[in-house]
Symmetry: C2
Subunit: 156 residues, 2 copies
């Protein structure tokens, strides 16, 4: 069952399309690769080569995705140097990027339920209590969990 508009449906012409936040976000995270880069950031990946390997796409694709996300202020590129090594860049989520956590978890949760045949490959639990983390749609004031309070467990 759909949601219901309190405004007249005829009034929809004014806001739809570009005004809708969903459309704007999809312009930004539009492609699969871009979003998988965000996923990897949440999973702790910071180095170019690791993005390439773990996402399983080509280096140019990662390069493009990183630049796009950088220009959208979802990730930030900062130079770093390991002892005795040359300067390289590392890529980390900005505060805005961190806020994509509900999107990531909602996608994973749906996939786990409807695409994985039975058991999901990963589980997200609270680091301290071990309780299962869920994304939920509610009017209640639930205690929000931050991404660094979440631990990822491979399904046994």
């Amino acid at each position: 069952m759909p949601m219901e508009f309190e405004t007249r449906l005829a009034d929809r012409g004014r806001w739809r399309a570009d005004a809708c936040s969903a459309a704007m976000v999809l312009d930004l995270l539009g492609t699969k690769t871009v979003f998988l880069v965000v996923r990897e950031c949440f999973y702790g990946t910071t180095r170019f080569e690791d993005f390439v390997e773990r996402i399983g796409v080509s280096a140019p694709a990662v390069s493009r995705a990183l630049r796009q996300l950088e220009s959208a202020d979802v990730i930030a590129r900062t130079p770093y140097r390991e002892a005795g090594a040359r300067t390289r860049d590392e890529y980390r989520l900005t505060a805005a990027g961190e806020d994509l956590l509900p999107v990531l978890l909602a996608l994973v949760q749906w996939g786990d339920t409807h695409l994985q045949d039975g058991r999901p490959p990963l589980r997200f639990v609270a680091r301290d209590s071990g309780d299962e983390i869920r994304v939920c749609v509610t009017a209640d004031h639930a205690r929000e969990v931050d991404s660094d309070d979440i631990a990822i467990r491979a399904a046994r």
Copy 2:
């Protein structure tokens, strides 16, 4: 800050890429148009022409998206006839499609916060209480709200 793996990072080779639910979902909802069709379903759109007009894409694009979503069992196509009119199809979310609500709201919520300059064009409230609906990541047992208990208000 990223989440932390309890499994060794070196073990990641086994599950990443195609095993990840996020990647599988993105194969399915991958494109912007496909996802906007889902959005429209939640907003109550059921007829082909309305999808075309409200999403602002061409008819063939809608046709393709609908078929893709149908084959993924996210929406179902059912024939109907208005009094004295020819039979047409209407498109509604399946139960699996309904479960995409957290994904939609998470996207909208992020866009409202980070892309809209200030005030979001739409607000989602509980139909009975009028309380603001939020997507949250939590280990608590919050009361889940179903999509038909949600009303949409245009920002004033």
